[in-house]
Assembly symmetry: C2
Homo-oligomer: 120 residues x 2
DNA sequence: TCAATAATTCAATCTCAATTGAGATATTGA
DNA sequence: TCAATATCTCAATTGAGATTGAATTATTGA
């Protein structure tokens, strides 16, 4: 991830509708959600507006889409999110690991650490 | 961290000068850097512009400042950064821990895990 | 093929944030 | 107090991104 990509990603996340979409997709998992379902879930966005923001997220690399029948399914690009965080926090610990580690701990993400290769 | 705070933080990070400042401050550690030093490090920003962006970062809660002689020292607010990431990734793992854990791993942050209470 | 559904594209307008440069404020040492 | 350093504040200009509504494309079932 370079600076330009990070800037595009942060710009994408700095808009209410798009931030809600990303959080929704992050929670929705890899299977994603149809554009219409996203619109209903976040509420108060015309189909035109929604399409604009979804395209914006896709261009920023935070979401991707696939057609499925009449619907277009959007899903989160998880590596893009982790790369973004890594870019922001890079070299955070230079000489101060005790300061930086809480930031990592905050990401415990309600995952049990013993979760490994469930059925991959 | 609520949505409004997250939006403010992402907006703050979506600008080249500010993103550079935050990354610089993250690397600089808790002691921070003087405004002038920041300006020299990132390059190509008038003092007026720099002041504008530093104030913006402070208002977004990503940096804080203190006066020290003629200089004003800025430093990163680490908890704000980790809260921001936690907000974005919240409930990421709902049913998909195997998808989400790589995001956390990316934050290894070149910290050795055995680093604990070095001299706190 | 026709109507219905799902979503996108386009052009016009509008709003907000970035930049600039001049001037103001605060601190220090002589 | 005066000059120098360090940084901030303010007003004006500029440009990028958000919103709206109408029209368009793609897919499906009758």
């Amino acid at each position: 991830m370079d600076e330009a990509q990070a800037l595009a990603a942060f710009a994408a996340l700095s808009q209410e509708t798009r931030l809600r979409i990303v959080r929704l997709l992050v929670q929705a998992g890899p299977e994603g959600l149809a554009a219409g379902a996203i619109g209903e879930a976040i509420g108060g966005a015309s189909s035109s507006r929604l399409s604009f923001h979804l395209a914006h997220l896709e261009q920023a690399g935070l979401a991707r889409s696939r057609r499925e029948g009449r619907s277009i399914i959007y899903s989160a690009v998880y590596p893009a999110l982790s790369d973004l965080v890594a870019f922001l926090m890079k070299d955070c610990c230079n000489g101060h690991p005790d300061v930086c580690t809480p930031a990592v701990a905050a990401l415990s993400c309600s995952c049990e650490p013993e979760a490994e290769e469930t059925h991959a």
